[in-house]
């Protein structure tokens, strides 16, 4: 019901008019712009399993996204990055660092409680963060906050802490992790795991459900939603159908289903390119010849066509390891196809070289349709240059798996950008390429970092191909959903349209219908 408000409290003389108008129009007016409490948000996720323990996550793995999205419901970080490039205080309210950016101090927010009611202490933060931080960083409790001492200048520490696995959680002693986030994991479908392990180091099997209920102790206030039900292992096409049929509210989509969703009345969202597809060659150093083969393959691949045509303009050609949105200088790397040069290199190769006579076998994850499509496209493009590439189905390959076995083999790997720190990402990718240990770390300076990345590109152990965004769609009743370009869904801020939302419930499940915030 809306009422006129011309002034307060001296507008008494107009109060009667205002009240009359208010009552006259109350019934017919929509009050849609205001967030409403209540409701259960139904989410379909593609991944078949999740791990809610950040310590177990692998940098660059495709599972990272889903793990992080759900971990955001349970845990908080020290800081968060908004969509406008500003670091927002979360569990840390203030921070500063010394001149060399080696020593960082964070002041912790007071009165923050875990979902089990215990108060967050600096010791908790230390215990949670230390296992997650890279080598060379030491975190200690200091006064009402913590101090992170870095071995090398780390001007991008905030970028690191605002992304990746750096959630603050606490093991309550029985292997369960508790967080300070807006939700608590209430249950996992009983057939997968013991429901008692909810909220902890639990994984859930395909097509299982996780239910998160609101945390009334959350320092940022209880979320609008009563609960979030997440169904795992839902293929994108099914998620789209569920959205259209009203069986779900928010679904994770794929390249082709996103295209279809755009033609419906669903709210569609796509992130910045977050998933990089690249070819990883054998780590053995070979003189000259293998380099020529890799270079020939790199030159033969038409990344632009791959992104524009094959992936229906939903992807971005990747000529570098860091995408444009993360480095700002990716455009300096040339993604142009040069078939003539590729043919020239091919003609100079001896016939015994893999790819020239025996097909170069590229192992690809049999369960990832997009990987198969990209690998097949690489084979088609390479054939145009006279190179024979054959795709071979294998199990899931991640950056952390062992490299391709033997000569003449490569694998198509999928790398997920899981950090907002370009240096951090490049460092992780460099480890994947198994570069020599003597190689110095990635520099902080953008220019030096560009040079470092350029050198790594020239080694041709890894060939970036395309980077693909995340896609999702939400039903019209989902409001205030503003995911970040780097893939955070921020479901805690979502609220549901009135027709579906019930009156807000307290922690005991009692309705408080009619209550106003």
């Amino acid at each position: 019901m809306r009422c006129i408000a011309l002034g307060w409290p001296a507008a008494i003389k107009e109060l009667g008019f205002a009240v009359a108008l208010c009552c006259a129009t109350a019934s017919g007016l929509a009050g849609a712009a205001r967030p409403q409490y209540g409701g259960v948000l139904r989410v379909d996720l593609r991944t078949a399993s999740v791990n809610l323990n950040p310590a177990k996550w692998k940098a660059g793995s495709a599972d990272f996204a889903a793990n992080q999205r759900l971990a955001e419901l349970l845990f908080d970080r020290l800081v968060a990055l908004d969509n406008y490039g500003r670091f927002q205080p979360q569990l840390a309210t203030e921070w500063n660092h010394d001149g060399s950016a080696k020593r960082w101090q964070f002041t912790l927010r007071q009165g923050v409680k875990f979902s089990d009611g215990t108060t967050l202490s600096p010791g908790d933060v230390v215990e949670a963060l230390q296992p997650l931080l890279p080598r060379g960083m030491q975190v200690t409790a200091s006064g009402g906050g913590i101090t992170i001492q870095c071995a090398t200048p780390t001007a991008d520490l905030l970028e690191m802490l605002a992304s990746g696995p750096y959630f603050i959680s606490k093991d309550n002693g029985s292997g369960l992790l508790r967080g300070t986030g807006p939700f608590v994991l209430e249950s996992v479908s009983a057939t997968a795991r013991d429901a008692d392990k909810a909220g902890g180091d639990g994984t859930a099997s395909p097509t299982q459900r996780l239910r998160f209920r609101f945390n009334e102790n959350c320092w940022a206030g209880r979320p609008y939603l009563d609960a979030i039900e997440v169904t795992l292992g839902v293929p994108p096409l099914k998620a789209l159908l569920d959205l259209q049929l009203g069986k779900t509210d928010l679904g994770e989509l794929s390249v082709d289903t996103a295209k279809r969703a755009q033609q419906t009345n669903l709210k569609c969202w796509s992130s910045a390119p977050l998933t990089l597809f690249l070819l990883k060659f054998s780590a053995d150093d070979k003189p000259g010849q293998e380099q020529r083969l890799r270079e020939a393959i790199s030159l033969s691949v038409d990344r632009e066509a791959m992104a524009r045509v094959l992936l229906q303009k939903q992807a971005e050609a990747a000529a570098s390891f860091l995408p444009q949105w993360l480095s700002g200088y990716a455009f300096l790397f040339d993604a142009e196809r040069n078939l003539e040069r590729a043919k020239e290199l091919r003609s100079k190769m001896p016939s015994s070289l893999a790819g020239a006579v025996q097909p170069l076998r590229v192992t690809v994850d049999a369960n990832n349709e997009l990987s198969k499509l990209i690998a097949e496209r690489v084979a088609v493009d390479a054939r145009a240059a006279g190179l024979t590439v054959q795709t071979v189905k294998g199990g899931a390959r991640t950056s952390n798996d062992a490299g391709p076995k033997g000569d003449g083999e490569a694998q198509l790997i999928v790398w997920r950008y899981t950090s907002l720190s370009p240096r951090n990402v490049l460092d992780s990718i460099g480890n994947t390429a198994r570069r020599q240990a003597s190689e110095a770390g990635v520099p902080l300076d953008a220019g030096a970092r560009y040079a470092w990345e350029k050198r790594m590109m020239e080694e041709k152990n890894l060939l970036p191909l395309v980077a693909v965004p995340d896609f999702a769609a939400a039903d019209g009743r989902v409001r205030n959903w503003s995911p970040s370009p780097w893939g955070e869904w921020r479901l805690a801020d979502v609220w549901l349209e009135a027709s579906e939302a019930s009156a807000p419930r307290d922690a005991a499940g009692k309705s408080s219908a009619g209550a106003r915030p």
């Binding site: 094959l310 198969k372 084979a379 088609v380």
Partner: protein, 622 residues
């Protein structure tokens, strides 16, 4: 070979020939009928396949037309006519269209040949399909076979191409169905037939490209020669493949080549017809023929036995009778049976033996009379010779009585000497005749004939090389290893001596005396040859007659004694001679003497008791 055996063989050959002829005919016509039926079934299956293929062509063409005429496709085609169209919108549409219309392959190609959507190979989107833009009037064409490249393999597809009729720029819809096991499964093959498909996706034969709708094709490499021939020349072909060493594993394949638009071989339908039934039938016929032949042989055997019993037995009896007669049993008779030819033959035989017997009696008597006459003549001649001097001497003595005593005494002494000599001569003559008349029966023992000959001839060795006498050269061609025969060594010794004497008499100027021995079927043969003046045929014929001699002196009993001895040994002696070229006496002695337990030979006795043997020999020589 006996008549029975010949008859049996003849019957057998007749039966076998008949059975073989019948078997061959049956097998030949059965095979021909089978082949004819097999051809018809195969032709029917091939025809069914061709109909199915034609039907599938129509279905595919229709489905592609449906896709072409769909609103979505029209929209796609219209969008492509706009400037700078967004082709990425349709990348996934081909997959949806293929699924919706039940096709395995679907592609959309725009006017310049760029592939904008592909169900089977989405990775190729953006590349050109120049073959489709080079074709004309696709809308009027029927579906055709085409080689389709897939990400990890190559397939054969029944493909139709249609263009969108309502837009200015050509927009191609290419759809198809895969030629695979499912397609084969639509064919219903009768029992004993099967249909396989070979997808010619490689320049050389690949065994795994031979596919069947049901089970895996075993030993597919055996199709290699057939496929190689098809690859050289895509024309229908028939070949038989034997899967194992067993003949009933053979299968005849009719290959129908499946070609693409440009006549290239893309595959082949292989219709296989098992020859097992035919082989089994043939074997059955053969077995039956074998059984019939065996039965016929058995019947033939029985029949032969019965027939021969009726025919050969009488003949054998006749033959036996003849042998008896030859053996000297002149009174042999054969039982007469029947009035048929064998009975007549038996009667004739009996008559013959009877006649022979009578004639022999007469001959024997005649010979006996002749022999007595000859003997009397010879005796008279022999006796006359000494008797004449006896007569003269007595007359002289009578005349000498008239003379004085001294003269009479001289004449008396001379005459008595003469009388004594002539009386001795007469005595000798009488003794010889007496010896001849009382030649003892032979006492048989096992002896080596070569030894007897040598020992007989040895006695004359001094004479052969006596000084002042003509030289007689002896040659021995005595076969080694002759079997021992039953014989009387003394009689044989005497006989050989007589022969040597006879030869010596025939070679007064010297010559060569040759002894030959050889084994015969029934015993041994001894030949004594000289190089004397020879005998005339008349002389040959009377040679063995007692007292017959060509010599001026002699009793003429030597050869008769030889003949007697030989006869006692149940042997035969014959002479071959030519005037001026010598004479050869041929003696044949049997190995065994029936019914006589021969005495041991001197050699055997000498082995046992040398002293006794030498005493007996000395007694015998006295």
């Amino acid at each position: 070979m006996s008549f029975r055996t010949k008859l049996f063989l003849l019957f057998l050959v007749t039966v076998l020939a008949s059975v073989s002829a019948v078997t061959y005919s049956v097998t030949h016509y059965t095979r021909a009928a089978y082949e004819e039926m097999d051809n018809q079934r195969t032709t029917a299956l091939v025809s069914q396949f061709q109909k199915e293929l034609a039907q599938q062509r129509e279905i595919v063409a229709r489905q592609v037309e449906n896709v072409t005429n769909a609103d979505v496709t029209l929209k796609m085609a219209i969008d492509q006519t706009k400037p700078d169209p967004d082709q990425s919108l349709y990348v996934r549409d081909a997959a949806g269209a293929a699924q919706e219309h039940g096709l395995d392959f679907m592609e959309f190609v725009i006017a310049d040949g760029t592939l904008i959507s592909s169900a089977e190979y989405p990775a190729r989107v953006g590349y050109k399909e120049t073959w489709v833009t080079s074709g004309k009037d696709w809308n009027g064409s029927e579906a055709f076979l085409r080689r389709v490249e897939l990400p990890n393999e190559v397939a054969v597809s029944l493909t139709a191409v249609r263009t969108q009729p309502n837009v200015a720029k050509p927009f191609y819809t290419i759809g198809g169905r895969r030629l695979d096991e499912k397609f084969l499964g639509s064919l219903v093959a009768p029992a004993g037939l099967r249909a396989l498909l070979y997808l010619n996706l490689d320049s050389s034969f690949v065994p795994s490209d031979v596919i069947s709708s049901s089970e895996k094709v075993e030993q597919a490499e055996k199709f290699a020669p057939m496929i190689a021939q098809l690859q050289k020349q895509p024309a229908p072909l028939v070949q038989t493949i034997q899967w194992t060493n067993d003949a009933d594993s053979a299968e005849t394949f009719h290959a129908l080549p499946l070609t693409g638009r440009n006549g290239e071989l893309l595959g082949a339908l292989l219709v296989g017809s098992s020859r097992a039934d035919l082989v089994h039938l043939t074997r059955h016929v053969m077995k039956l023929a074998g059984a019939v032949a065996a039965a016929a042989m058995l019947i033939g055997l029985l029949l032969t036995w019965w027939v021969s019993a009726r025919i050969t037995k009488p003949i054998e009896e006749l033959a036996e009778g003849a042998r008896e007669v030859a053996a000297g049993h002149w009174h042999t008779r054969i039982d007469l049976r029947g009035q048929d030819e064998t009975g007549q033959l038996a009667a004739a035989f009996n008559h013959m033996t009877q006649t022979l017997s009578a004639q022999r009696e007469r001959l024997v008597q005649t010979e006996r009379v002749a022999a007595w006459r000859e003997l009397a003549r010879r005796l008279a001649h022999e006796l006359r010779n000494p008797l004449f001097p006896l007569q003269i001497t007595v007359e002289n003595m009578q005349r000498a009585r008239q003379l004085g005593n001294e003269q009479f005494l001289e004449v008396f002494n001379e005459s008595t000497a003469t009388l004594k000599a002539e009386l001795a001569n007469l005595n000798s003559i009488v003794n010889r005749f007496s010896d001849f008349s009382k030649m003892p029966p032979p006492e048989f023992s096992r002896l080596e004939i070569n030894d007897v000959i040598r020992s007989a001839v040895r006695l004359f060795e001094p004479q052969f090389h006596a000084v002042g006498k003509p030289t007689i050269t002896t040659e021995y061609f005595l076969k080694d290893g002759l079997p021992e025969i039953d014989g009387d060594p003394e009689l044989l010794h005497k006989a050989f001596q007589n022969l040597v004497l006879n030869a010596l008499d025939a070679m007064p100027a010297g010559g060569t005396l040759t002894f030959r021995t050889a084994e015969t079927q029934s015993g041994v043969r001894i030949e004594v040859s000289d190089t004397g003046k020879g005998l005339t045929p008349e002389e040959c014929s009377r040679l063995f007659t007692p007292y017959y001699t060509t010599k001026q002196q002699g009793t003429g009993l030597g050869l008769a004694i030889v003949q007697s001895v030989i006869s006692d040994h149940r042997g035969t002696i014959s002479v071959a001679s030519e005037e001026g070229h010598g004479t050869t006496f041929r003696i044949e002695l049997p190995r065994r003497q029936p019914g006589v337990a021969p005495k041991k030979t001197q050699a055997a006795l000498a082995e046992e008791d040398p002293a006794k043997a030498s005493a007996e020999t000395a007694a015998a020589n006295d």
